[in-house]
Symmetry: C2
Subunit: 423 residues, 2 copies
């Protein structure tokens, strides 16, 4: 470390993990540059609500500069990282080079098509605001086209929605589409009855919410079915076209397919280490550093970590936050010439919502429940986790309005051209 | 009229005029189809606030189906009208034909580049949600690029904004950009001082707000200058490139140019009549019908009308609303075999806002004033005019937040790729 200049920390990614690392270093004698290719931090657990027209993008996304405005030792940078050289200790970006003393890689993961990337056009995933607005447009346009359709089979196809992958995202999207169809849009159309729309949730494994205890998987399935979602487990998707979805258990004609399956870590994981798992995640040491480079950390969904107790760290927001805080604590320990702490993952539980008054919550062996209470808890926790008071206020008011009126506030079709409904 | 089926009314355009016509026919023995190429009604007076990151699109846009959900005799249709045949009484759309007994054309007007359409890429106008989001992205990215810039001249160019046209829209956008630069973004950047940004408002005529009384033009000029806007009247734009703007009074290097000048009526005006003025507006009779076709009305900005007292009807929202109501009243009179009423335009006055606590209001000879009181009135009227209670609530809360914190809530850059800041 060069004593004549502060220690340079580069953080790549301003999601849960990157932001947590930056904030935990607020009082440390370091100069931080946090790079993200977006200008905003995205609260991903609520992204499905933008996709289903319940929230606006700005309710769940805050400008990174605003979040970090008061942190004098941290400089945000809007650019894309193109490569990382851990030997020379330099990060290459579209806006110049960033030399570092410490690097925290927090670029996350996205969905994966299991080698069938051409499915992406017909079955978008849900990772960014643009994805969410694209899905919102597809859902709303499907109903608009159904309203104009003269052929009964085509009308049915337009009102059939398939969601692939029954993790929390898939479960939440599927439930929300049934909700928008049975509540919000019901009175809007004259030719079609939106309550007859079909939503299929297709899962290759034996159960929905694979990471949850069995009792809650059961509860979630029941709640989905009471909402009118057709749950198809033990079913693999083998092809997707503009017309519909081929599965191991038959073909379904559907105009709208949403992909919520598979994990692909950010490709930068492979830049910092050769040891990656089959999802591309960087395999890290128990202190979350990359083998051979104690000054390089990989945290959150881009990494595959096992904590000091041998517990596999899951790909959830809370784990990314803890990882970011641990990387910061390790840097601080180094600068103080003390031993780095151990990383012990503190499992705060999981929750998933199903429609507007149902959910499942797993907060430990004695705190597992489903239904309305779980849903209230889910709402409370998610509002609390929002990074910004104004967002909390806006989201609460949006939800309150939605709950009282059944009206989903953000039902705009934007970025649309008339060709999309040409007869 | 065929007694065995209801009278068919086709309304093209669900802006102020078209919606007013539809609603005024709610109890009439007609079957209405209202066609719009967007799914939402846009409250255009506040569009500039979406462009300057103060409001979200959904705060000022409501789904047409939602607005008309309770009107049983009115069917919304999402499609683009491609042509109108007034002889055969058929409207051609991208989703099929619409025969009509009565037609109300309410497709509005947009900005015009005086024959220099190639300027549009460098100087977008502000007509739709997509336009507003594009302008928002350009403004926010300009500051992001300035933060990364290494050349001082380029940095200055990136922080220079030109608005062309000093009508209400241009005045409002120019004031809002100075506001975002001097208040909201001030603490967000480390390398640049956003308060040094320059905003030039260029106007070919001798004064800003040409349609307002002279005293208020003066007030507006002063308020703009106190906000830091450089007002350049009697100045014509002769060229626009990606680098800057050439005027009759010199060249200005500017990375962001916004076009708020010129009027071009919707091309459908020329479909319903050969008599159009030089802005393409359909010249109508005093009862707002098209010469030779008493069953075809053109209202709002697509039309050039003179009322029963010889008063030229201005291109403002209130005039479109009154025109739509008059068209409806005329149809109702026809169906009741009574005489059509005369159309008398009731001038409710004009207002324009300049920044967050300034405005000018012209509400008649004894009610002309500028400054804070005008601004409060402007806010109150605009909230009142919003079509939907939820929008009123959200807009009030957005503005209250903005006023208290100086924070503009919708500061997202969306639809952006990293190439936009490549060094």
């Amino acid at each position: 470390m060069n004593d004549s200049q502060p220690t340079r920390v580069v953080i790549v990614g301003a999601g849960f993990g990157g932001l947590a690392a930056a904030r935990a270093l607020a009082d440390a004698p370091v100069q931080i540059t946090i790079v993200d290719r977006q200008n905003h931090h995205l609260f991903q657990p609520l992204l499905y609500q933008v996709a289903t027209a319940a929230l606006n993008p700005s309710d769940i996304a805050q400008p990174i500069r605003h979040i970090l405005a008061k942190q004098a030792n941290c400089q945000p940078m809007l650019a894309e990282v193109t490569s990382i050289d851990t030997e020379s200790k330099v990060v290459e970006t579209t806006a110049g080079e960033l030399p570092f003393d410490y690097l925290v890689l927090a670029t996350g993961a996205t969905h994966a098509y299991f080698g069938n990337d051409h499915w992406a056009d017909h079955a978008p995933g849900l990772k960014s605001v643009e994805d969410a607005l694209d899905i919102r447009r597809r859902i709303l346009l499907a109903f608009e086209k159904a309203e104009l359709a003269t052929d009964a089979d085509e009308r049915t196809r337009l009102m059939t929605f398939v969601v692939v992958g029954a993790g929390p995202t898939g479960v939440e999207v599927a439930g929300a589409i049934r909700e928008i169809a049975t509540n919000t849009l019901r009175k809007d159309f004259r030719q079609i009855d939106t309550t007859t729309s079909r939503v299929q949730l297709i899962e290759a494994g034996p159960a929905v919410l694979a990471a949850f205890p069995e009792k809650l998987q059961q509860s979630a399935s029941e709640q989905l079915e009471s909402l009118g979602v057709e749950v198809r487990t033990n079913t693999m998707v083998t092809d997707i076209t503009a017309d519909g979805v081929t599965t191991s258990d038959g073909y379904v004609k559907a105009a709208t397919v949403i992909w919520a399956a598979g994990v692909a870590a950010s490709p930068l994981g492979a830049d910092v280490t050769d040891e990656t798992d089959r999802s591309g995640r960087a395999v890290v040491a128990p202190d979350l550093s990359v083998p051979g480079h104690p000054n390089v950390f990989a945290i959150g969904d881009v990494s595959a970590a096992t904590d000091a107790n041998g517990v596999d760290v899951p790909g959830v927001g809370a784990a990314a936050v803890q990882g970011g805080e641990h990387a910061a604590a390790s840097i601080i320990a180094d600068l103080a010439n003390t031993a780095r702490p151990s990383f012990v993952y503190n499992d705060k539980g999981s929750m998933a919502t199903i429609g507007r008054s149902k959910a499942v919550a797993d907060l430990g062996p004695r705190f597992r429940f489903g239904g309305f209470v779980a849903w209230v808890l889910w709402c409370a926790v998610h509002v609390w986790l929002l990074v910004d008071f104004r967002s909390k206020l806006r989201t609460i008011s949006s939800w309150a309005w939605q709950y009282v009126t059944g009206s989903r506030s953000a039902r705009l079709i934007t970025g649309y051209t008339a060709e999309d409904t040409t007869a």
